[in-house]
Symmetry: D3
């Protein structure tokens, strides 16, 4: 195993039996990269790069600890997706004070994963939103294809890096400025309220980033909207990368996301959107970012919603892509 | 009064005046069973039988303490239901370590209530979901009629009793296995997500339990769905017993239910469903279970929602059945 | 400046730059009344008059402290309203134990504001609901016109003052009894549940107050309902005063309002309603009351929703009235 | 019973048996004043008069609700004080907006109690500290004797009433200015830290109030200090009134007191001091003030400490005075 | 391995390196009983038997999860006790509804441990206090020696089993009534306040149980007191069993113990006492009970104190007994 | 003003009157360095360098916001220190992702302060413990004198920088390795428990760092211990720098310090120690670090204790050094 990865400190005692819990389904593979898997899961515990103080670096651990609460069977769809082979390759190794090194590690580690586990679907668990830039750079370098981005976010994340470097406010801008992704290939769903500065709107206009507000989404519904966006993207890009900033959720539903706001998305809306996203084969990878478990409610509702969101993609992908 | 009942430790100073508070409306009747009442309310403070640790045994007390916040007038329907006669006969006596004895007490106490207060509507306040089995057994033995079950729940509660006995995961299974209720007469509304194990689905299939997911409900709406279910049940059974596992609610709305989950029902949806349920005369009794007040938010939102849910049934029954 | 006003204890270091934060947009004007402004903002830190203990007197401070989280640009409408000139004239001075004196100060201070800053829109930040009575009295005396009231509330606030004086349960009743406002000119939107006593319904009938329940609103939608109400009011009154009791919100969305309840309004519904309200030029002023920041969640979701609600009015008024 | 008193809204079902719980020991006597009792307990639910927002008005209710956790037996002293006859005469009636009326009611109600239940010991449960002034005025008028005050407090409470009236910062000053009590007869124990303004120190000097800091107390110990203070007082006054502002406690021990601070007293220190206080027969009455149960921790540690503090006095008085 | 034991669901990835964390030091041994160990650790996740609802059954899990925060080096004593061999044999298997079966399992499992791992020191992690009875029965049957009990507790735990069976209020009484332990051989340290009913005092007198109040302890100090008690016990018994009911701690220090109270022990006092206890070779085993992690503070201060308490014993035993 | 400093975002409206609040006493001086001041206060909002996620970067803001709760008068000493001239020069500017740049900024900014405000006492408000290294480097370079360190801490902070760079676990080691400070000149007070790894003990031995455990301190008392340490230091160094890691406090007293532990120091002990520290003129500067206000209790007890700790030094220095 590459020394860019570390094992999580706690692991489940897996027990395979008739009723499959998520904790028993996802296979730890910390010492080697398995070749033929459907999904590779990578933890990216970095949040020093967050503009405001965040413990999103703790999310990969909390995400794993909540697996025992879920099964691999969806009663909504009457589908058991246990035959989807998912491996957890552990966490990318981070440095305590060198943030650029952390980003370099992420990029390198993702290239390793892409090389060693080809033809898979790649799910990254952040960490803050700064991780999306090195991940997408790795995708682009590895595949050398045109990559589109489908972003669920309350914010545009188009800040320039000149004053504060590659913080969690900059990932999309970094990719645009470096020519890794084109503005027209970025679709942001879930924008709402009074949380984006006019200068970022001008940046979005300049780069041609597509903005779909929460109200736009509610007028169309999840399946129509995602179908439209995917159809547009299909004419332009080879691979779609999906990035879910959990701050797209309403503050009532997601107290564990420091930047969640009033007027945001409900969890059931996000679950519906992700079910639609899971239908499209050219979606090549995705991440979930900015969930700070230290801020969560006593009952850890946001962490649980994070696992649910991940499972919606697994379920849908199993139903529509894998089989 | 039967020695199977105990008084609640705290009682309201009731004051009858022009504006009727729920605390002044529900009559305590701890020393005797009144004969002609519209509704009998019984507290069942048992939660040692819960698989995961729970203080749902505290709910009858918290339920009563929240009565002072509500009136007997619904502004939605412009109806005052103060003429509905409701008595609170207190709590069924429990044993500190003998859970089977507790279940026997519940069954015996319910038979007392059914005998002493005939032709009433019976509302039981749990406690965990294990209480539904002895309650329904009492109904069946007392009436000797075919009983259907309308269940609001995130889970099927069809676990077998062989490994852990009659826990809160088993009540429906107990009734099916004992032939008290038939699988085709059980309707479960509100199922969703990744919370039911495949083996329980197979059990549901085996017994023929009717499963209506949260998405199914949302597609039909409360009044159509309940009308359909009640129509089907009317062709098969004599009496419908309704059991409301409060974990059917979303974790955001019901932090005080240990097993509430993301992706669950909103409180307003539950209130609408219960209003519909209240319209049907052949609904003979009901319970509310699995609400743990020690887990609730500071403002006790879940306890308050529990009282609201109960009042929706009272309101609707007054409008449609009593008059 | 009148000695009826005091400065807030903490002020922002305002910084005018390309991206306008609300904290940099609203101009403090504690020493003088500016003549030509679009909106005057007045803090009214009174909650000793609340029937149940409340720290709503802290809300003006918390409201101001949360401004830094918002910009003057709405991504929903793609509109920047920074050209709306808003001044904050500080807080009305209160007395520590003489509540009637506090109410007199509010009335006098509002007359000052109305005289010194004519042709503006007046937003008052409470405090509890008792403040609406002296504010509307000031409006009526100053303008000598017929004033209608559009109230968003879970309660009617029609208690008589004979037993406990001008508490937060009485403002509408005070205005009706004093002939300041007519019952037919009062429209209450958002009533729901079991929270209003029958005697108050009779009072509402007696005075002819218009009641629109939350269910009525949901059946019609925000734009139709507000258009209807405003059309009716336009035939009767010269000026509409809007009072938003934040307890209209559901307890899940507004833990920081002591009287919020299950079954209430969602924040997005309130935001939509206020956007509609902002379209009507004859709306002359408004207040937000009964938000107790000490009860709010750790992430201060209710305070943030309060700022959002205020900005919706600013946005809409800028789009529809100012330009 | 005087119409100045109201019943608490909730009462315990008292059960007299071998093991005496405090809830079963204290006799409710809401309709009449019993003549021969050892202790009269009066609730004074007023906190509108608090400078900063407070729900100390809720303390009498929470105090009573916590009685079931305590017995009448002290294992420290191996003494059961159940033979001390204590009656709870309910709460003094308050007005919703007229604070001076509230203070007048307190004074009048206390005179009633003193007349109707002579030769007793009088314990008042606040409420904020403003209640001490009318209580002591009632004592002085009723007895026409020289009264000393032993105050446990972090603050001097010597503010003048000219700007804000009789708030909770003024009770001692009110009594001094009105000549009800002399400065030399006031002893304040527990002062510490940076919480008293220099002007109040000058006031204390002017009136001759005796200041004993927390450090002074710790150097001497409870029994020596109280013996000294009581000896001094015995040479000057006829009756000692003890007022316990719970903000004397450290913020770690008393999160439920809005004005508790770092550097304050530990609960065990307060319990020791109150045990000493209970030894002196010329202590004629006492109050506990400024405990806001809405601010308390989930486990209600401050309310429980409040009951413990009260019981220490009962225990000691039973051992030293009653027998 | 006996089928009376189950593995914990989560295990640490142990890493042996220069700096020994407790998580890397304690050896999991879930499949077999190692013969030559210094200490055997057994989890006993039972709290259905608690009189009031408790999740103390979760403590063994939380206890293990907190090990990573501690090292095997005490800076107070400048001693590293890593050479003490400690194994964790997992949790005793419990039944979901048959509490007597749970107690039988504990007794049987402890006999297994005592047989398979002779000449060790046995630490049991509860669970509620009911577990002490079957543990001590196992000790007595296995060793056939006279056993003394040193109990740290706020309560006597001498309730009879006739009304509610073997709850957590009864363990000492069970042992006395069954003749397993003699009253004179029981020493209870830490009793305080108003929390023990007179009937239990009479029971203590009847059985001759030795009562040492918290005040007694404070007067003597930890080392003198424990030396005296151990000297007395040494004249009477062969083995001393120590049971630590964490409710002996003050509510401020131990919010995570449902029955902790004001006026209790500080954590540093308990740590000192346990250091003294660790010096005595004839102490053969001990348990820690009644810590409910669901009630703990956000920072889990009580769980952390529980681990600290355990380590104090390990440290002292290593220094005084093992070497 | 140097561009290395930024203004705090919120400032108090200062009001100079008879009773001096700390908020009105400390002078903001964000645009220039005043020459003749007694104390310079500098905010250092850096905590990206913390090993575990921390929002200690928020402490300077919270520290300032709590000033209004304190006066400049100590009732313990009967001393008003308002004549001590203290200026707040604002916060050192930080970079969003370049931590080494942040440390360089701190060092440079401190050199500015030392040059521009000579002959003052310098108090730095962190931030995490990594800030101490650049601060002391600035002191050493500016003064070119031998500097000793008096550290209050639960940990030694002697980790090497080779694996994770200059984190908050390394400041003392950095200074020793760079020869800025000698091991024999470092005194660490407050060490306790099982929180220091053996390898760090060996490092402490290697460098000759002086270790004084919490138990050592408790045996000697604050005044004797500090006198001894200061006497020793006086024979060796020219200037003493004091660094207070707030994690020296017990977790019960300091929930707002992520690394606070059971078995730690009480706040009153820390206050006493700091009073002693303030007596020594050769103490040239100090910092307070690792207090994370986002973790604090609702009543912000840890932030308030932080202000109290600072004021103890101001008080004592005014009494013993300034006059």
């Amino acid at each position: 195993m590459s020394d860019l990865f570390v094992e999580p400190s706690v692991t489940w005692n897996r027990k395979l039996h008739e009723d499959m819990k998520v904790k028993d389904w996802i296979e730890p593979s910390f010492g080697k990269f398995p070749a033929a898997v459907d999904v590779v899961l990578t933890g990216i515990p970095l949040s020093r790069s967050s503009i405001s103080a965040s413990a999103a670096s703790e999310y990969p651990d909390f995400f794993r600890k909540a697996w025992h609460l879920f099964t691999t069977y969806s009663i909504d769809e009457n589908v058991d997706f246990r035959d989807m082979k998912v491996v957890d390759v552990g966490d990318v190794k981070m440095h305590g004070t060198n943030i650029l090194q952390c980003h370099a590690n992420i990029e390198e580690a993702m290239k390793n994963v892409l090389s060693e586990c080809p033809n898979s679907f790649y799910v990254q668990i952040g960490g803050d939103h700064s991780i999306t830039a090195p991940i997408v750079r790795a995708f682009q370098e590895h595949t050398n294809k045109r990559i589109g981005i489908l972003q669920f976010d309350t914010h545009l994340d188009l800040r320039a890096t000149d004053s504060d470097g590659p913080t969690n406010g900059t990932p999309i801008r970094q990719l645009l400025d470096a020519g890794v992704v084109r503005g027209e290939d970025v679709y942001n769903i879930g924008l709402h309220g009074f949380y984006n500065a006019p200068s970022l709107i001008r940046a979005a206009d300049h780069y041609g980033v597509n903005r779909i507000t929460l109200k736009d989404f509610r007028r169309k519904g999840a399946s129509v909207l995602i179908a439209e966006v995917m159809a547009e993207l299909a004419t332009k890009v080879d691979i779609v990368y999906v990035t879910v900033d959990m701050d797209v959720l309403d503050i009532t539903y997601a107290p564990g996301v420091p930047a969640s706001t009033p007027g945001g998305m409900r969890t059931d809306e996000l679950f519906d959107l992700l079910f639609e996203v899971g239908k499209y084969e050219h979606v090549g990878g995705m991440d979930f970012v900015c969930l700070d478990p230290h801020r969560d409610s006593r009952e850890q509702q946001t962490v649980k919603s994070g696992v649910y969101a991940f499972l919606q993609v697994m379920l849908s992908r199993f139903m529509h892509v894998k089989k």
